[in-house]
């Protein structure tokens, strides 16, 4: 399937109001458009009306000759390859666009915390990644702040200072959960308002694991940037190191060798496999079907042991790097992996078929946690969640990269949007990933596994399909040093789906819905 180029579409879409010659091509298929605020303000509603989605919005200082803060608005039109980046200077009052593109709400709050830039008419001006423990007027992403450890006063109670939405009425009560949860899981706070058992409102507060990774990257060399990409989210290491490496390669205008691209595809799909297996197993745990959960978690352990054999790391860390791979994976090992995966499919299918034959499982899965299709573009919801709500989108196909264009596959799509649909989409994706690995293993080329890169100056935007959905990486290098490394993982946007998905369901179904959406805290908090 040939994906039409966004550039050709944009040329027609923008004229006559904006001269399409103003579009400047970036290192990948990212097209930059510098606009002043009046031009930009006139364009946003048109973009929304035409089905464009806002997939990223972030600030960069000192970019392309303007020393102050530039705002980069990233748009994607589904099923067109390429992205539109609108850049405006924050030298005059900036208006919030959250009413046109609701996904902007988190982004704008993030920029406000990071740079102190106020958005006029923003309906939510609460802090985002800087909790109340940080002092007022502290804006860590601004170049004027030199990164250093802070000694902050102990004992600031976030709870008291962060206004959650109050729901009142007879019989309405609040349940607060977190940041420390009962299981072995990352921290976050959930504030439920319930009436009886059904959930009336849910507000999620995140960023407890905010480590300041974006600031840490500034001024560092390319090797350190790779460590940061690897540490974004432990079970997304392959996707994030791939995106980072690909950004460096695009900036250097070089392509990794064919063998490296093939091995990378195998690693990316291994990551999807072990991630999906964990979710499928976790969802069965949450509905009280431990037989299936245990069987799937055993299969998952086998995959993690394979990761270790292939790369030395159960989490595929320390393998993908700019230029290719840090070490080769022998062909015989890939053949052995293919034999293993060939047998894996039957063992996997047997377990999920058994699980789906249990009425107690089906009863809990069906009609639970529905994500409405109309939310997908406005909130920029991607990945399994989008495909289980009827949207045939997959970055591997829409924005083809690496070795994917040489393989043909179709994303599974289901219309229901409930937990069952997400379970079924995941299990078909397991089968698709197995197929992709087997096909690639059969074609594995001989040759180099990496090429040396000579870093130059430049910037590039990369989109990848991690197991959780589409992740966006924007990297700007100057003299071999990182000026800005912006990461927006799939979870960052997908988190916003849960506040809608749980409404009307009962609180005991929340863990199941949460598991079915597989949201990363570390990947959101950075």
């Amino acid at each position: 399937m040939k994906i039409p180029e966004l550039y050709n579409y944009l040329a027609e879409f923008l004229s006559p109001a904006i001269n399409p010659l103003k579009l400047e091509k970036g290192a990948n298929k990212d097209y930059y458009l510098w606009l002043d605020w009046t031009e930009a303000a006139a364009l946003y509603p048109k973009l929304a009306e035409d089905g464009f989605g806002l997939i990223g919005l972030f600030g960069v200082e000192g970019f392309r000759g303007y020393q102050g803060l530039n705002l980069l608005y990233i748009f994607e039109k589904r099923n067109y390859s390429g992205t539109l980046v609108i850049i405006r200077r924050a030298d005059s009052p900036v208006s919030s666009i959250a009413a046109i593109f609701p996904s902007a709400c988190y982004f704008e709050r993030e920029i406000r915390d990071g740079y102190g830039c106020e958005f006029e008419n923003a309906f939510d001006r609460r802090r985002l990644f800087l909790h109340e423990t940080y002092p007022a007027n502290f804006h860590p992403l601004a170049n004027s702040f030199k990164n250093q450890p802070l000694s902050l006063p102990a004992g600031v109670e976030d709870e008291a200072l962060y206004p959650f939405k109050k729901i009142s009425g007879e019989g309405v009560y609040e349940v607060g959960v977190g940041p420390v949860h009962a299981g072995i899981i990352e921290p976050g706070h959930f504030r439920f308002s319930a009436i009886g058992e059904p959930i009336l409102n849910l507000e999620v507060r995140l960023f407890y694991t905010h480590r300041g990774l974006e600031k840490l990257a500034m001024g560092k060399d390319i090797d350190f940037g790779l460590k940061i990409a690897e540490g974004i989210s432990g079970d997304e290491s392959a996707a994030n190191t791939y995106a980072y490496s690909s950004a460096v390669e695009h900036i250097c205008s070089s392509r990794p060798p064919r063998r490296a691209e093939q091995l990378r595809l195998i690693l990316l799909e291994m990551e999807r496999l072990y991630s999906h297996l964990a979710d499928l197993s976790g969802m069965l745990t949450d509905v009280g079907y431990p037989v299936g959960a245990a069987s799937l978690s055993a299969l998952r352990e086998e995959l993690m042991r394979w990761n270790k054999r292939l790369t030395g790391s159960r989490f595929l860390k320390g393998i993908i790097a700019p230029g290719g791979l840090l070490k080769d994976i022998p062909g015989e090992l890939i053949t052995e992996l293919a034999d293993y995966l060939y047998a894996f499919e039957g063992r996997f299918s047997e377990q999920v078929e058994k699980a789906l034959a249990k009425t107690s499982v089906v009863d809990r899965f069906e009609t639970t946690g529905i994500v409405n299709n109309r939310l997908l573009i406005p909130l920029n919801i991607t990945g399994v969640t989008a495909r289980a709500s009827g949207e045939a989108i997959d970055t591997r196909l829409n924005q083809p990269y690496g070795f994917y264009p040489e393989l043909s596959f179709k994303p599974p799509v289901l219309p229901e949007g409930d937990v069952m649909a997400r379970f079924r989409v995941r299990l078909s994706e397991v089968q698709t990933s197995l197929g992709l690995i087997l096909k690639t293993a059969a074609k594995l080329s001989a040759g180099e596994y990496a090429i040396p890169l000579k870093p130059v100056n430049g910037y590039s935007l990369i989109l990848v399909e991690s197991p959780r959905g589409q992740s966006l990486h924007w990297l700007w290098l100057r003299d071999g040093k990182i000026e800005r490394y912006k990461v927006r993982t799939a979870s960052y946007c997908n988190w916003q789906a849960i506040e809608h998905a749980v409404l009307g369901d009962i609180i005991p179904d929340f863990p199941l819905i949460n598991k079915s959406l597989n949201l990363s805290y570390a990947g959101t908090d950075l």
């Binding site: 860590p140 902050l152 976030d158 407890y208 600031k215 840490l216 540490g231 055993a298």
Partner: protein, 181 residues
């Protein structure tokens, strides 16, 4: 199926469940090396903690890979409950707090409160490179550093992240050192 056959079938099934042999398929996994570690750990736990050890896991700013390995300890390959180890939901039930990740500014209060909620005597383990020393995040505004910046740490288990067998091995070492005290 005619009605009567149906009933006969049901009765047979019930009788079989009650009186028939209980067959457990031979588990295709099991790792002699790991089991040896586990048995040694169990005997230490028997001596020091009177049969069982309750662990509370706490993420103070990890990339989630350490949590995944802690969860993996309960999968059928490791199944550490066999060795008297349980992961508990409340710090009030815990003997040991395992902390993963560098301590972020945003989590510092919750980390202290969790530790304070545990009954004494209590032990703290820092699990993973970030928890041991702050890792890649150290030196920045977002983290205080390793766990020992705010809690008394009894054991550091390095690794990015440490693997299940390493975790159990380190726990064994900790138990042995406690017994000698």
């Amino acid at each position: 199926m005619p009605e009567q056959t149906c009933e006969v079938f049901a009765v047979k099934n019930v009788l079989n469940n009650m009186f028939g042999p209980k067959i457990c398929k031979q588990m295709p996994f099991g790792d002699a090396e790991f089991d040896k570690l586990g048995v040694a750990l169990k005997s230490e736990i028997n001596t020091i903690f009177g049969r069982s050890l309750a662990i509370r896991a706490l993420d103070s700013g990890s990339d989630n890979s350490a949590e995944i390995e802690l969860n993996n300890l309960s999968n059928p390959y490791y199944d550490v409950e066999r060795f008297g180890i349980s992961f508990v939901a409340s710090p009030r039930h815990a003997d040991i707090l395992i902390v993963t990740g560098a301590v972020t500014q945003n989590m510092a209060i919750a980390v202290r409160k969790t530790f304070d909620a545990m009954p004494s005597p209590k032990l703290v383990i820092a699990l993973g490179d970030d928890a041991c020393s702050g890792g890649i995040a150290s030196g920045g505004y977002g983290v205080l550093g390793g766990v020992d910046k705010i809690l008394p740490v009894n054991l550091k288990i390095p690794g990015n992240p440490p693997e299940p067998a390493q975790i159990i091995n380190s726990l064994l070492g900790l138990m042995q050192s406690l017994r000698k005290k």
